[in-house]
């Protein structure tokens, strides 16, 4: 069964966002999403310093099953991308909430996180699909 950590926020398009102690926001895809996709074979990440807007495309994840856009959960500037995924895209399957993160943002407005789904609401959405 998929895991839904309580301490992070989710988007109905299956990304997660975690507010770090230094005020940055880390983004990835949920355990449920990686289960649905199957083995991930490529990840396309945004450029560092790119400006991204909430709910707009910021990358692509390709699995054996399908290609899916990755949407930015909040608006901000990309300050880091997870280069591990270049050579080891399967990290997204193995560790979706930790080693398999996609990118980090410096958010324009940290309160945008409040609009995202808490774990229980997101789990409910996934389980009713």
């Amino acid at each position: 069964m998929a895991e839904y950590p309580q301490e992070i926020k989710y988007v109905d398009t299956h990304e997660w966002a975690r507010l770090e102690e230094d005020g940055t926001v880390t983004v990835g895809i949920s355990d449920h999403a990686q289960e649905e996709l199957g083995d991930v074979v490529y990840v396309e990440l945004p450029e560092i310093d790119a400006e991204v807007n909430a709910k707009e495309e910021a990358g692509v994840v390709e699995s054996v099953k399908a290609a899916s856009d990755i949407y930015a959960p909040v608006s901000g500037t990309v300050i880091a991308v997870n280069n591990v995924l270049e050579d080891a895209p399967e990290t997204v399957n193995d560790s979706p909430y930790d080693d398999g993160w996609f990118f980090k943002l410096s958010p324009n407005d940290v309160s945008e996180l409040d609009a995202l789904l808490p774990a229980d609401d997101y789990r409910e959405q996934c389980e009713s699909d």
Partner: protein, 368 residues
């Protein structure tokens, strides 16, 4: 996952075992089938490097018997069963009068009659097609067309032939040393040196109540359960077509890289579709392509030569063995300039290659 809310979804004799093994189940032509048991890519490698077992009981087994069975199939199939010795298998196709492919199939020559293995997704139309021609009694044909509710296990991979005899003899079966594309029957069990992976192996067609003991014995012996996801990437690497994706009723064999199944040698044999095949102008072909840039080829992506659209991708996938994407493209024969594919508003270079992509565990293609 199902697009068939009102249709009855069927399950094979191994369904509960798939669930117990943690399979992800998807609706596959009206059947609840395992797509993988954890990782499709790991299962793919198991078959290329060791051995694996697939439940392909969703496929349809049809026996053709009666004194006109040979004449009947010489009319219905574009390859010629007159060339098929006892215990041998042949890859072939049923065509419509326009030369389009109704289905691709394997036919086995038995002691008395023939056994066809046709696709699950085309079961209803295939049975209706066969039955209609049988009922018509054209040319005085007397044939019996009967679907058999049997299970099918495919055991494939470089280790499979070394390890299978002991397992089968433990079940009271004595598999002779089968050559490729031959089969042997013992009671109700048929063992055939056929497959859909590009590796050596067997397909075992057997009564449903014998399927679970054989499956469990295989898994106990270290044979990996493999889902239909890996089956798709294995067959594509092996350069083998998938009905519905690479060919259908609007596509003739020459347009699907399948001319080798059309046998025109006996000029008196009037098989369905022959007249069109003999006179058609073939202006498109299906070719093997690889893409070494990031991304995955998938069905219906647009293919260009130079700046002109010349066709589209049929089957496409990430190749676990080659670690880049591979596919078939149906393209105009008249084309100039470098091949490219459009993926998300980008043009990515393709290279045309000789098929297959992979055979017996190794890269087999060469660039054209």
């Amino acid at each position: 996952m199902s697009d068939r809310p009102n249709a009855e979804v069927r399950q094979t004799a191994l369904y509960s075992r798939h669930l117990a093994l943690g399979a992800r189940i998807v609706d596959f032509s009206g059947w609840d089938m395992p797509v993988h048991y954890g990782s499709q890519i790991d299962e793919h490698h198991q078959v290329r490097r060791h051995w694996g077992v697939f439940d392909v009981s969703h496929m349809t087994v049809v026996d053709i018997e009666g004194r006109s069975a040979t004449d009947f199939l010489r009319m219905l199939l574009c390859n010629d069963v007159a060339n098929l010795a006892r215990s041998r298998a042949q890859y072939t196709a049923m065509l419509n009068p326009d030369g389009g492919i109704v289905d691709d199939l394997i036919v086995y020559r038995r002691d008395d009659g023939y056994r066809l293995i046709v696709n699950a997704g085309t079961r209803d139309k295939d049975l209706a097609w066969l039955q209609a021609y049988a009922d018509e009694g054209a040319h005085g044909h007397v044939v019996d067309v009967s679907e058999r509710p049997l299970a099918i296990l495919a055991v494939q991979g470089p280790d499979s032939l070394a390890k299978m005899p002991e397992l089968l003899s433990a079940m009271g079966l004595t598999p002779s040393t089968l050559r490729p594309f031959t089969m042997a029957e013992q009671g109700e069990v048929m063992m055939a040196r056929t497959g859909y992976t590009g590796e050596q192996g067997l397909e075992i067609i057997l009564p449903q109540d014998q399927a679970l003991p054989l499956w469990d014995a295989l898994v106990e012996a270290g044979c990996a359960p493999v889902g239909l996801g890996a089956r798709d990437t294995l067959r594509l690497e092996a350069g083998m077509n998938l009905y519905g994706q690479d060919m259908d009723e609007t596509i003739t064999p020459a347009e699907a890289n399948m001319s080798f199944v059309v046998n025109l040698k006996d000029e008196h044999r009037e098989f369905i579709g022959r007249k069109v095949l003999e006179t058609q102008t073939v202006d498109r072909e299906m070719i093997g392509v690889i893409m070494t840039d990031k991304g995955v080829l998938r069905a219906h992506q647009v293919v260009q030569a130079g700046n002109r659209v010349v066709g589209e991708i049929c089957s496409g996938a990430y190749s676990p063995s080659l670690e880049h994407s591979i596919g078939f493209a149906r393209v105009s024969k008249e084309r100039e300039g470098a091949l490219k594919v459009q993926i998300r508003n980008r043009e990515i270079p393709l290279k045309q290659v000789h098929l297959p992509f992979v055979r017996n565990g190794r890269q087999a293609y060469s660039e054209i």
